[in-house]
């Protein structure tokens, strides 16, 4: 099925997208519009291709041998398979399932992206590090110990450091692959609050296993399921409130009420 929301600017436009691992079809004919400056949650049972779909947006699947795609994904109207992959990843940042700060100082973690893109000016770097850490709600906790290793932080702090690191390269889209699944409930809540704040400036796509999290933290929800050949497909996409209170498809209702998945 296809979805387009009236009066909403589209950030990412996916048209008849298929993805294969070798002969295995992982995603089948996905067509979806991701609205700009909103939080879109992708939910669905394990193995339905949510992460594969998310990792298509920054072409992280390019790293895996034998991955092949069909169809288009357009970012601001440009087909991202025509873009240079390095330039694409500057525009589309990613936060991973497990916090993965580099074994470097907090400062060097955040400054890593800007430095990689050629920024050498120490004054500017310090400004970017400070702004990114503030935006990721971590500044107050670490401002006096920026030379401390990122690995010395707690799990929740590490994940906010990873968000700061992603923000520092000034992307317009942030992909989050179950960003709170390795965190305790309090750290999870802080990440969710942070995501709410970030949507003013970023388009956020978040994969989550946690129904409450999708219901709490997202504006739009896309529900994926898989067919008998284990190929993932889009069942339904709409405002989160509607998906969770009045879904159009029976499978959606069964899934969100916990009847399978």
């Amino acid at each position: 099925m296809s979805t387009h929301f009236e009066n909403l600017e589209t950030k990412i436009e996916v048209k008849h997208f298929n993805s294969y691992y070798g002969d295995f079809k992982a995603l089948r004919d996905i067509t979806i519009d991701i609205p700009k400056n909103f939080i879109t949650a992708i939910i669905g049972p394990s193995g339905c291709g949510k992460s594969t779909f998310l990792r298509s947006f920054n072409r992280m699947n390019d790293l895996i041998p034998n991955v092949r795609t069909e169809g288009d994904i357009c970012l601001d109207g440009e087909n991202l398979f025509d873009l240079d992959v390095v330039a694409l990843r500057k525009r589309v940042g990613m936060v991973f399932q497990r916090p993965n700060p580099f074994p470097k100082s907090i400062f060097d973690n955040v400054a890593y992206g800007p430095r990689a893109h050629g920024l050498r000016d120490q004054y500017l770097l310090e400004e970017i590090v400070q702004n990114s850490l503030k935006a990721a709600a971590l500044w107050d906790e670490v401002k006096d110990e920026l030379d401390k290793s990122g690995l010395a932080l707690s799990g929740g702090q590490q994940q906010r450091l990873c968000i700061a690191r992603a923000l520092a390269v000034e992307p317009s889209v942030i992909l989050m692959d179950e960003p709170a699944s390795a965190l305790d409930p309090i750290a999870t809540l802080r990440i969710e609050e942070l995501i709410q704040k970030l949507k003013e400036n970023y388009t956020i796509v978040i994969v989550t296993h946690n129904m409450q999290q999708a219901a709490r933290a997202s504006d739009y929800t896309a529900f994926f399921n898989m067919n008998e050949h284990r190929a993932g497909y889009l069942v339904e996409h709409g405002p989160t409130e509607k998906i969770f209170t009045n879904p159009e498809k029976k499978t959606t209702e069964d899934y969100i009420t916990g009847r399978f998945g």
């Binding site: 390095v86 990843r89 500057k90 991973f96 993965n100 992206g113 690995l151 990873c162 992603a166």
Partner: protein, 307 residues
């Protein structure tokens, strides 16, 4: 079903077998403790024996005069210390960049290039097994190879050059293998995080992967340094045995281990062989400590403070 059905072992049975399980634990613990003790004791005994006997001939004069030659083994060992240091510097300077570079290719690029060209895949697996085999080949074989190629064919004669190149061949497989393992141990998520920020593959390797693998790579280099300091046979057939101070790469020389061998087999100065051995052990310890220290400082600088 009652909850009793889930009980895999009756409590009475546990009470009964507990003493024998504990006895087994005590025996295992004793055995492990004993083997550890014996291993450490033997090593300490050897080092202690060599150091104690060596001390009897070590003095400032022994350290600062060169060997005199002859069957009486007169003189000190000054030139052999310098020659050993030259050898260590020369071999690691050649083998480290080559070995680390080869490991980077094997770990980071080989899979990608062999997908494009199947013949590269065959070449890579050939190289891999070659490295495996070479790492286990006795040093005298490398010596003979060095003698045939560098000393006679290329006419470098007995020289630091011949010995350094042969020594580099000897430690190259060691450095490749340890560096490969160190690179493989770097979590994939670091690479993904770096690429996800828009860094290029080379930036990812040089800024994230290599620094994270550095301790492992340095361990390989330390092992190699130890090997160069300790090897005798390979340098016997490539370095010659001259006790003069090498003036340039074309000079022959004598490393400490070689000096020990010559003193022990061709002279009556067994005590001086012990003295030289003692210094050799001390130098290996000092080199290890130095490299460990700089490695820790380097990694703290690169990785940030952990406390």
């Amino acid at each position: 079903m009652t909850s009793d059905a889930y009980r895999i072992v009756e409590e009475a049975q546990i009470k009964q077998n507990l003493p024998s399980r504990k006895t087994k634990e005590r025996i295992a613990f004793l055995f492990v403790w004993l083997t550890g003790f014996v291993a450490v004791a033997v090593v300490l005994w050897i080092i202690g024996y060599v150091l104690l006997r060596g001390m009897q001939v070590i003095n400032l004069e022994f350290l600062t005069t060169r060997p005199q030659g002859g069957v009486s083994g007169k003189g000190g060992m000054s030139t052999t210390i310098v020659t050993t240091l030259y050898l260590v510097l020369f071999t690691t300077a050649i083998a480290t960049p080559l070995g680390v570079g080869a490991a980077i290719y094997l770990v980071e690029y080989a899979a990608e290039t062999s997908r494009k060209h199947p013949w590269i895949k065959k070449l890579v697996s050939l190289a891999r097994s070659g490295v495996e085999i070479l790492a286990g080949v006795p040093s005298i074989i490398f010596g003979l190879f060095g003698f045939a190629l560098f000393v006679s064919t290329l006419k470098f004669n007995f020289s630091l050059l011949s010995a350094g190149l042969s020594g580099a061949c000897l430690i190259l497989p060691v450095i490749i293998r340890t560096s490969e393992e160190a690179l493989l141990a770097v979590p994939r998520v670091y690479r993904e995080a770096s690429l996800g920020l828009g860094a290029t593959k080379w930036q990812t390797i040089s800024q994230v992967v290599l620094p994270a693998a550095l301790p492992g790579i340095i361990t390989g280099v330390v092992l190699s340094v130890g090997r160069i300091v300790a090897e005798t046979a390979i340098f016997w057939v490539t370095l010659g045995g001259s006790y003069h101070l090498p003036e340039n790469l074309n000079s022959a020389g004598r490393s400490m281990a070689l000096h020990v061998y010559i003193l022990a087999t061709e002279t009556r100065a067994f005590d001086k062989a012990m003295g030289t051995s003692a210094i050799l052990i001390l130098i290996i310890i000092i080199i290890n400590l130095l490299i460990n220290f700089t490695c820790r400082r380097l990694s703290e600088k690169a990785m940030g403070k952990t406390h």
